[in-house]
């Protein structure tokens, strides 16, 4: 195990705000593990605890079999970290940034060049340019190079693709796949649900707690209901009407379609037929589909919400 987290808790403002709520998970060697969740889910706090920047209130965590509290100095030698707001030194050039971080980590650009070669080649044409003048995608590649330069055992990437456009995001995930082949473990967080499929295993997080941990495929598979997609010319009207229909359990917009589940999956085909007949909307089509991670996430969120409500009562 490269990373082991056991029942970690972390609160701020003297317990007023719970950032991490009893979180446990483990990351294997050479695995890409994703923490998936919106802002405020507790992802950054977990990263900071694992990179020895924060102390947990309770629970324990080990990185490369070292304790995050006791062995913090040794851990700092072995991990690479890209914080969420990391923006490099804007007034240093690409190469100066890289060489600086190489020295900070007791190594040189040349020593581990093979590791970053693929990535660095993409930004090498701009190596005399100041980091502040790079595009978002370029900055992110440079930041990854800086985090990799000392050949860490495990890489912590906190929301590396936030605010970056689709093309750069795809390139970035390509790079992570290549790093995985080098047997580097990667813990990555993202608010974009569509990136979950690119991880080996994921933890879906909300309000400091993990709602589910598994491979993306298993999470999707464990979706407990049939999921249907509905399309129509006037999708907004359809959404309102379906949300009002009593056989419908949930219905929400999902790209060009609506995703819906019924309260009962028995005889669902007939229910679909009935709805299509009743709704009288142009081009109305309803078909069964495989859920995505986002569907699972929404479902888990709703389940948790109802649970807490009943708990409260």
């Amino acid at each position: 195990m490269m990373v082991e987290v056991n029942n970690i808790n972390k609160t701020y403002n003297e317990g007023e705000i719970t950032a991490v709520n009893n979180v446990s998970f483990a990351v294997d060697k050479g695995e890409i593990f994703g923490l998936i969740g919106p802002d405020g889910a507790g992802k950054t706090s977990i990263f900071r605890i694992l990179t020895t920047l924060l102390l947990p209130d309770s629970g324990s965590a080990r990185v490369d079999d070292l304790d995050v509290v006791k062995d913090y100095q040794e851990i700092r030698r072995r991990v690479g970290y890209m914080p969420g707001k990391f923006s490099l030194y804007q007034d240093l050039t690409v190469e100066e940034n890289l060489r600086f971080f190489a020295t900070v980590f007791n190594t040189t650009l040349e020593e581990n060049y093979h590791l970053i070669e693929d990535i660095y080649q993409q930004i090498a044409p701009f190596k005399t340019r100041r980091a502040g003048k790079l595009s978002g995608g370029m900055k992110q590649k440079l930041a990854l190079c800086c985090a990799l330069i000392h050949r860490p055992q495990v890489l912590f990437l906190d929301e590396p693709t936030t605010g970056v456009d689709v093309v750069s995001r795809k390139e970035f995930w390509e790079m992570l796949r290549k790093l995985k082949q080098q047997n580097i473990s990667i813990l990555v967080s993202t608010p974009y649900m569509d990136e979950a499929d690119l991880c080996d295993r994921i933890a879906l997080m909300q309000n400091g707690s993990i709602m589910s941990i598994d491979t993306p495929a298993n999470i999707v598979e464990s979706f407990p209901k049939n999921l249907y997609a509905a399309k129509a010319g006037d999708i907004y009207t359809l959404l309102k009407q379906l949300q009002g229909d009593e056989v419908v359990e949930s219905c929400f917009a999902f790209g060009e379609a609506l995703h819906l589940t019924f309260k009962s999956d028995q005889d669902a085909d007939n229910t679909v037929k009935r709805i299509v007949a009743e709704q009288q909307l142009d081009d109305l089509e309803i078909s069964r589909i495989t859920p995505t991670i986002e569907d699972s996430f929404i479902r888990l969120m709703r389940e948790n919400a109802t649970e807490t409500e009943t708990d409260g009562k």
């Binding site: 605010g163 689709v166 093309v167 649900m193 569509d194 929400f252 917009a253 790209g255 060009e256 986002e294």
Partner: protein, 237 residues
């Protein structure tokens, strides 16, 4: 319309119309010129050449009128964290010259529709991000603007709140408010009536999501965007 910074053509001869009551998606890779174009349309800077009208007002000569008739909300700046919900509403209402009585009346109604009655006197800083964004949107259209500009309004927001947010956008559009929105979530591009994709300062595509997908033979807007943005040569913002 064009906007140049020295040799750099941030916005390069773009042309488009947005219809009244339309939800208009404005997409583009980082550095494609979205922000520059949006600043001009919000009356914050002048184009280098070309023409543009927002809500019927000229971007060169009637900036003040434009500002009066648009709403604006962005992910980065929306509300004052150290004012309460009601104080924020009062402040923005006051800026647009809405009478005190009306602000109070509609503010109360707004807080109720959002389900924030209990939090009305709490500081905005203590609200979860999703609620903040929903509130920020409501405040941006509080003065009933002709058009509202939303700059990545749902960044980092959870999937349920994101959908509730789009519900609100639809509602505003139904009431006749034109919505001009940028986003990094490609599924949200599908919710727009029409979408433009900017690449290197130019509008490379402009159509309904359905037709764009057909044109680029892709089953999602993600694919459309990827094909277009990959061609970009620009590397700096």
């Amino acid at each position: 319309m064009s906007k140049h910074f020295g040799d750099f053509k941030a916005v390069d001869r773009i042309t488009f119309d947005v219809n009244e009551g339309e939800i208009f998606g404005f997409l583009g890779a980082n550095g494609a010129g979205k922000t520059t174009a949006m600043r001009i349309l919000c009356g914050l800077s002048f184009p280098t050449s070309g023409q543009a009208k927002v809500a019927g007002y000229d971007v060169y000569r009637q900036q003040e009128k434009i500002k009066k008739h648009i709403g604006y909300m962005s992910q980065k700046f929306s509300l004052y964290d150290n004012l309460t919900i009601l104080e924020n509403i009062e402040f923005y209402g006051g800026i647009y010259g809405i009478s005190r009585g009306e602000i109070r009346q509609r503010g109360d109604a707004l807080v109720k529709t959002l389900g924030l009655d209990k939090e009305a006197k709490k500081l905005v800083g203590s609200l979860p991000l999703g609620w903040k964004q929903k509130l920020a949107f409501s405040v941006a259209i509080f003065h009933r603007p002709r058009i509202v500009f939303l700059d990545e309004p749902t960044g980092g927001v959870d999937p349920i709140t994101r959908r509730q947010f789009w519900d609100m956008i639809y509602q505003a559009a139904n009431e006749g408010i034109t919505v001009f929105v940028t986003t990094h979530y490609m599924d949200e591009a599908e919710y727009c009536n029409r979408v433009t994709v900017m690449v290197d300062g130019r509008v490379e595509a402009l159509d309904t999501p359905a037709r764009l997908k057909r044109q680029f033979q892709s089953d999602s807007m993600d694919g459309v965007f990827y094909q277009l943005a990959r061609k970009a040569k620009r590397t700096s913002d």
